[in-house]
Symmetry: C2
């Protein structure tokens, strides 16, 4: 999908429905699945939800605004461990609701921007990657969502590694990367 | 998760909500995403949905019934390419509805079996893997669902490989395996 073919409407649709995908995947499951990890220093579905919430608050949409405001300073750095303090005491149900609410507000605000093709080409400064366009930011937001949906599916699948017995040979997800 | 800890209720919950996860991920997206693949001989989200439908009809639940009926012959082999003929002419919306309906019926029938711990230990003969238990079959059904949820997320993410620009370095899903 080259830059000229970027389909803003499809990207916004994907972003809009991530909360529903995650709620369908995670709501009402036992703690053994919610807090399962792939080993030391890997994230559980619970950790991932906190990370996604922090991204809604401080990363994706704020950076889009930053680009459109024509700021010349780089984006603020993103804190990849914020969820370990921010999520404390919250249930998975609360995290899912919080994420859904923040995402809804961000998508509503994004739609209100009525982005033009020209807007999509506007640039901001990433603290490590250098110049990036608004279109690249929005595409990355989508891929980041899908990456974490896949991660959550993988982490929960791996909780069944022993239970599947001889079928393990056919289930490539059980051999996949751990973060 | 050892065999003695297998949580049938959680496994059934996961199986039950897969249609909702997939509908949230896939409904109403443009064909460019629905039919995207990871290259020759890899499956699109559309192909995966047909494969899941064929599994509902001929694989998972029929095999569970086979085990409980005490059949000594091996399970019928599963056709991994059936979807290429079966799905012809169907829209993604139709596939999602068909999968949801078949899964609903299979889970209702599974619940009616009121499986005991003893039932979960009953054995069937896999045509290639040899002896497998009902518990291993059910765990594999769950992992198979999650594997395909992750695959669909990955395939759609890769459709944005060019669009993300320099962010590609941070998005490990874009470098993941292709099937």
């Amino acid at each position: 999908m080259g830059d000229t073919e970027f389909d803003l409407d499809a990207a916004v649709k994907l972003l809009e429905r991530t909360p529903a995908s995650l709620t369908a995947l995670l709501e009402g499951l036992p703690d053994t699945l919610i807090t399962a990890t792939e080993g030391p220093d890997t994230w559980s579905p619970y950790d991932v939800m906190g990370h996604l919430i922090h991204g809604e608050r401080t990363d994706w949409f704020p950076r889009a605004r930053h680009i459109l405001a024509g700021e010349s300073r780089p984006f603020d750095k993103f804190d990849r461990t914020a969820q370990f303090t921010d999520s404390k005491g919250k249930s998975m149900t609360e995290l899912l609701a919080e994420f859904a609410s923040l995402r809804r507000d961000n998508i509503a605000a994004l739609r209100e921007m009525n982005l033009t093709r020209e807007d999509l080409g506007r640039k901001g400064l990433h603290p490590e990657l250098g110049e990036v366009t608004l279109e690249q930011l929005l595409a990355t937001w989508v891929v980041h969502d899908l990456d974490h949906v896949a991660q959550i599916a993988r982490v929960m699948a791996k909780a069944y590694t022993t239970a599947v017995g001889p079928w393990t040979a056919y289930l490539s997800i059980l051999q996949d990367r751990t973060r």
